[in-house]
Symmetry: C2
Subunit: 411 residues, 2 copies
């Protein structure tokens, strides 16, 4: 068993669960005989290259601290978007990084992040192999987008889905109170895949209410067909609610924002694009003349830890600890994944996959999860997502607000 | 003691607590010897005039049903925006309404709503007096805006404030992860008063983090001064977060949207106004060139029952029941209010006030609650709001989503 110290970093956009994965890695390291000290790198590899690290054994003294970290949104160690150069292109970066590893006897490298972070894992692993420095390198994915191949789902997705479904259900209640015809368009994150927007449909199979339509980027968006859909719904009941992905594109490949709002300028005369929801709001107003509004769920989708999924937080902790276990057992250069071994009862197990098989691919919502008309999701789709939002993660309230755990860099 | 039946209606924009007040009225009626049956009017006075009512004694069979109703956002009986005519102008409306009362032996009238609803309460009460029909009429205010005079605060405000403070704290965590200079502008509801925006400051006194600036409609907004403020903050740290009221206006009285975006047109050539946050986003981009985004908290502020304040929900239940008690004791034509009898420990008592003293006035955030520079709130202000967000109201989760209670009209 390779003995030494470990380092962990976070990278890419924050989620409500990325700190749970961090807590899992830290707990795993504390429990691992091979690991002496686990350091946290502030702002990912940027922090490693700049020596901005913190000894996490000194920060986390109790189980409660780790629980608090697991319930804290965003990245407690900070994030970065740095992409390492191709090997051979600028080896100075790698030399600096490995000098840092050697100086601190870092033998375990854990990186929690998105696609770019997995790229970092693969490169660090490859460089280590060709330069005879023994280090075990493991990636743990995180993304609310759920668009990573090779895993049943991604840590972070369940909590985002729970927030979206909960908010959609509340919006549906709110919109139902008046008798005047009105259309409400809810814009949900997702440039390339509709997984988050799908979650807006969950109230249908759980509470018996749901939006009238759900439009995903997996289908070409047709504005005429959309207006026809809205008309049909308005004939049935006065309060029409629609979920749309921010990434909706027409058959010409242009985002809805580009095609419906090409003339929009601000007071400085600059062109700019409104969001998809805003554009469709203006379109409905123009074509149907009824009351219409748009709501962008925005950043809260990825950081609403007060409404996190217990399933998601528990799995994120679990997969973080599993990364350490696998590394200690000699696995390196891999990405941790989830294998759904059973649906009833729902059960997942941690596994890992080769990064090369995963990188630079987008897992879209499959055909069988989208209805024929392309304006809703199927029950099979919702049954896939449902267990991922199960349970409520513990929130540590104080004076009416959730407590969070911060890991400031003390220099 | 006047004996007979009661009717209750909801009116105006929904909140996360208006159903708690309804539950309080229903519970109060069940416990009141004077009241035989309590009917619910669907869509307020519109429902009374159309005979769309439901016998609530038949709907609510258990304490749990009432608890579930209290945790349900929006208006379970539906809402309306109907304003009754001045007495003497169109008495047919009143005749119809009182025919309905007589036919159903309605002797108690409870109306939960905003300013227009209190106007309805005053008019129904006055008409009854001049037409010798004995009926006790009580109003219970609700508004997330907290801009009603004569009461320490309004039911619904605490839950909205809790959601805003919780979301702001999560946004602050999310924005802190990168080292690149960026400005995030959070737009919060409030056309005429800044009470909701104030709540964005709560994390400062509770968790030690907060937005850099808070701009309220109580102060003239100066875009040059604003840009100077942002510059100063960006020199201190990379992640600047700002809370703004949707109702910000310049010294000329024009909304920020009007003055910074007069040339904005959609693809149809129509002028339209973006929100205040979006306009300030474009302004910062133009003047400072840094990364900037805006977030509109939107409808969730008033319907996020999954994050409701226990203090608010408990008080809403209490004031609903107190309305019934007072009516049974002979009080009529009044609006229920909160009297804060103590701050440490926080304690409120229900009271009532004359509607004429309250109607058509807006309670603004007072001078001592706003800092001298007009770009932040004082600690005294935050201490006033803090007890209103205390505690977490019970949420009845099922399969990952909150359960709600619906009162459909069965005809």
């Amino acid at each position: 068993m390779l003995k030494g110290n470990a380092i962990v970093g976070q990278s890419g956009g924050p989620t409500a669960a990325i700190n749970a994965t961090l807590a899992g890695v830290i707990k795993g390291a504390f429990d691992c005989e091979a690991i002496d000290v686990i350091y946290g790198a502030h702002n990912g590899v940027e922090g490693m290259l700049a020596g901005r690290i913190t000894n996490l054994n000194e920060v986390f003294k109790t189980e409660e601290d780790l629980k608090l970290l697991a319930s804290t949104p965003a990245a407690a160690l900070g994030s970065c978007r740095k992409k390492l150069p191709k090997m051979g292109e600028d080896d100075a970066v790698y030399e600096k990084l490995f000098d840092f590893f050697k100086a601190n006897n870092i033998r375990y490298f854990f990186y929690i992040g998105g696609n770019d972070s997995m790229d970092t894992v693969a490169k660090v692993s490859a460089y280590a192999e060709t330069h005879s420095y023994e280090i075990k390198v493991m990636g743990v994915p995180k993304t609310i987008d759920n668009d990573v191949v090779g895993t049943d789902h991604t840590p972070g997705y369940g909590s985002a889905a729970k927030y979206i479904a909960t908010s959609m259900q509340e919006i549906l209640r709110d919109c139902a109170v008046y008798t005047v015809k009105a259309v409400t368009i809810v814009e949900i994150m997702g440039r390339d895949a509709g997984w988050l927007t799908v979650a807006a449909g969950l109230p249908r199979i759980i509470s018996g209410i749901g939006p009238d339509y759900i439009y995903l980027p997996e289908r070409d968006f047709d504005t005429d067909k959309f207006i026809e859909d809205v008309k049909v719904a308005l004939e049935k009941h006065p309060n029409v609610v629609i979920a749309v992905s921010e990434g909706l594109r027409g058959a010409d490949g242009k985002y809805v924002g580009e095609s419906t709002q090409s003339g929009a300028t601000d007071v400085f005369g600059h062109k700019y694009l409104s969001g998809t929801g805003k554009c469709l709001e203006l379109l409905v107003k123009e074509k149907l003349g009824c009351k219409v509004r748009s709501i962008e769920l925005n950043l809260l989708q990825r950081c609403a830890a007060h409404c996190a999924s217990k399933a998601d937080i528990d799995e994120s902790l679990m997969v973080g600890a599993a990364a350490v276990k696998n590394a200690a057992a000699g696995v390196s250069g891999k990405m941790m994944c989830f294998d759904r071994v059973s649906n009833t009862p729902y059960k997942v197990e941690p596994t890992y996959n080769d990064i090369e098989k995963i990188a630079n691919q987008v897992k879209e919502v499959p055909d069988e999860f989208i209805n024929e008309a392309g304006n809703d999701v199927t029950d099979a789709c919702l049954e896939y997502v449902k267990p991922l939002i199960a349970g409520e993660s513990e929130v540590f309230w104080k004076d009416g607000l959730p407590r969070h755990f911060a890991i400031p860099y003390k220099g």
